[in-house]
């Protein structure tokens, strides 16, 4: 029998093929979910309703507050900037990847075990699947929120189009950071019966320290100091503030902090996932 010789493919070619294959795989997942999302128009429409509602309420509350203070600016933000800040903030909050219930349920009922043998990374699958949803949601929500903000306070003159790519980058990293935190909460289902209360608490921390209900600049100085070093403000406040009041130095600082926090949380997530899947037991046949 002739000896078969297999020549090893150059490492770079292999790497490129693998990388491309992976990217194509996760893009296909994102695309499938995006199409799936388009089939449920009512759900997207109901999010628009909430967006209208929140921006309207914020316009009333902050309009009355600026009026009561007799101020044109509070902590460096005008009323117009404040309302548009909430448009961007709510777009991030309402458009975020929602996988906690699915993942925690799969952990609890053991169905996670069936996904482990599939040719994808479990967490990347959920990320890719969620991204399709985010693209649709965020776009629709931004248009809806902008309509209300425009009707209440007029256009955002302080916005500079050339800053948009960086604002979008900071916003994209905000989604990644949020995904990491939410995934950690979901995987804690390995140890807890129900992670809903943790999820609620995280959301409410983002409400206050993340700047969703009140821009971080409006907080007392001592609380601002705490909020600015924690990752929560990087999820909402940092991108929303850059959108309404661009500051190059602040953009670089936010990007740096986002990368550091994503590194820390992704590491923690990997450890938690490996530890959890080793403990996984399934019943049935």
């Amino acid at each position: 029998m002739d000896e078969l010789i297999f020549l090893p493919a150059p490492a770079a070619v292999l790497h490129r093929r693998t990388w491309r294959g992976s990217a194509r795989k996760y893009l296909a997942i994102a695309r499938t979910n995006l199409l799936n999302r388009l089939a449920y128009v009512w759900d997207a429409a109901s999010n628009v309703l909430l967006m209208f509602l929140f921006i309207f309420i914020f316009a009333q509350l902050w309009g009355a507050t600026f009026e009561a203070q007799g101020a044109t600016e509070i902590a460096g933000l005008t009323l117009t900037q404040t309302i548009w800040y909430f448009v961007w903030a709510e777009m991030i909050q309402m458009g975020k990847i929602r996988h906690v219930r699915t993942v925690s349920q799969e952990v609890k009922d053991g169905s996670l075990a069936y996904t482990l043998g599939r040719p994808y990374n479990y967490l990347l699958y959920h990320f890719a699947s969620g991204i399709g949803d985010v693209l649709i949601q965020a776009g629709v929500l931004l248009v809806a929120g902008s309509l209300v903000a425009w009707s209440q306070v007029g256009p955002l003159y302080s916005f500079r189009l050339e800053t948009l790519p960086v604002v979008l980058l900071v916003t994209a990293l905000a989604f990644v950071l949020d995904f990491c935190v939410l995934s950690i909460i979901a995987l804690l289902a390995f140890f807890m019966e129900d992670v809903n209360s943790l999820l609620f608490i995280y959301h409410k921390i983002v409400f206050v320290l993340g700047g969703l209900l009140i821009p971080v600049d409006f907080l007392p100085d001592w609380l601002q100091a705490i909020a600015r070093v924690l990752p929560f403000n990087l999820v909402v406040y940092a991108p929303a503030k850059l959108f309404v009041a661009w500051d190059g130095g602040q953009a670089v600082f936010s990007l740096g902090l986002q990368v550091v926090w994503i590194g820390i949380l992704a590491g923690l997530l990997t450890v938690l996932y490996r530890y959890g899947t080793r403990r996984l037991t399934i019943n049935g046949g």
């Binding site: 449920y40 009512w42 759900d43 429409a45 109901s46 999010n47 309703l49 909430l50 509602l53 929140f54 309207f56 309420i57 009333q60 509350l61 009355a64 507050t65 009561a68 203070q69 807890m192 019966e193 129900d194 809903n196 209360s197 943790l198 609620f200 608490i201 959301h203 409410k204 921390i205 409400f207 206050v208 209900l213 009140i214 409006f218 907080l219 007392p220 609380l223």
Partner: protein
């Protein structure tokens, strides 16, 4: 079967639900504590807000204590006891009403009360604690607070069921229904004085947020008997609308042919 028999049946369901919740005591308690913290953090927003801005359109932090007490206790009562009220749209869309249709009991009360909320007990507790901060501890105020909150809870639960019943007409409206209930709550949690013109009209009719926030607060704060009667009228009307929408919708119900076991 008379109304007394039905109330006895609902009472029996609640006892069973409570026993079921208590079976997983650690989870039950952790959810309650989680919800207490959840509400507490949200409350911090208002503390920070009024610490900085003192007063907005006549509202100060004292009014917010009372508003939170009314809102969280009403929400807690509504969805602790009528635990399925928030699930109606999903149950209809999945064809899971079959279970209730086969049993010799009126469907609506059986459906609504066959589950008890867990985390909502935290809201209930938070409402009582927030009321203590208002300092209105005389018997008349407490009586008015309990009565107004009970009526607000009825409006909350009936609104949730009515919006959930939209699934009979429009398919799976679980998220739409949930968002409408969220809208009801979100508007109620802000001082009513913020809203002007058409917004006020909407909040007194289509999305009756005023009746789970501002009006009960007015009942307690001003000892306003007229507002209490109005609240009772709206609660009865809400219940009538809920029963009407559910009955009409039920005629359009299609079984999911699914086998369900309710535990």
């Amino acid at each position: 079967m008379g109304i007394v028999g039905e109330m006895r049946f609902v009472g029996h369901l609640m006892r069973l639900n409570l026993a079921s919740n208590m079976e997983y005591r650690a989870s039950f308690v952790s959810q309650i504590v989680g919800m207490l913290i959840n509400n507490g953090i949200y409350f911090v927003f208002w503390l920070l807000f009024f610490d900085r801005f003192q007063e907005v359109r006549g509202y100060r932090i004292d009014e917010i204590y009372l508003l939170f007490a009314v809102f969280t206790l009403a929400f807690g009562m509504a969805f602790t006891f009528a635990g399925n009220a928030l699930e109606v749209a999903g149950l209809i869309a999945q064809g899971r009403l079959d279970y209730y249709l086969t049993l010799p009991r009126p469907i609506l009360p059986h459906l609504i009360f066959s589950r008890m909320g867990q985390s909502t007990v935290g809201d209930l507790t938070f409402g009582v604690l927030a009321y203590l901060f208002t300092g209105r501890l005389d018997l008349v105020s407490i009586g008015l607070f309990v009565a107004a909150t009970l009526l607000a809870a009825v409006i909350f639960a009936t609104f949730a069921v009515t919006t959930g019943a939209l699934a009979f007409f429009f398919g799976n409206t679980a998220q739409l229904s949930s968002h409408l209930v969220q809208a009801l709550g979100s508007f109620a949690l802000y001082p009513f004085g913020l809203y002007q013109g058409a917004a006020r009209l909407i909040l007194l009719t289509v999305i009756p947020s005023a009746f789970i926030g501002a009006v009960p607060v007015q009942v307690v704060q001003l000892r306003d008997g007229g507002a209490l009667v109005l609240l009772a009228g709206v609660a009865i009307l809400s219940a009538i609308v809920m029963v009407g929408v559910f009955r009409v919708g039920l005629r359009r119900y299609e079984s999911g042919s699914a086998i369900n076991i309710n535990i």
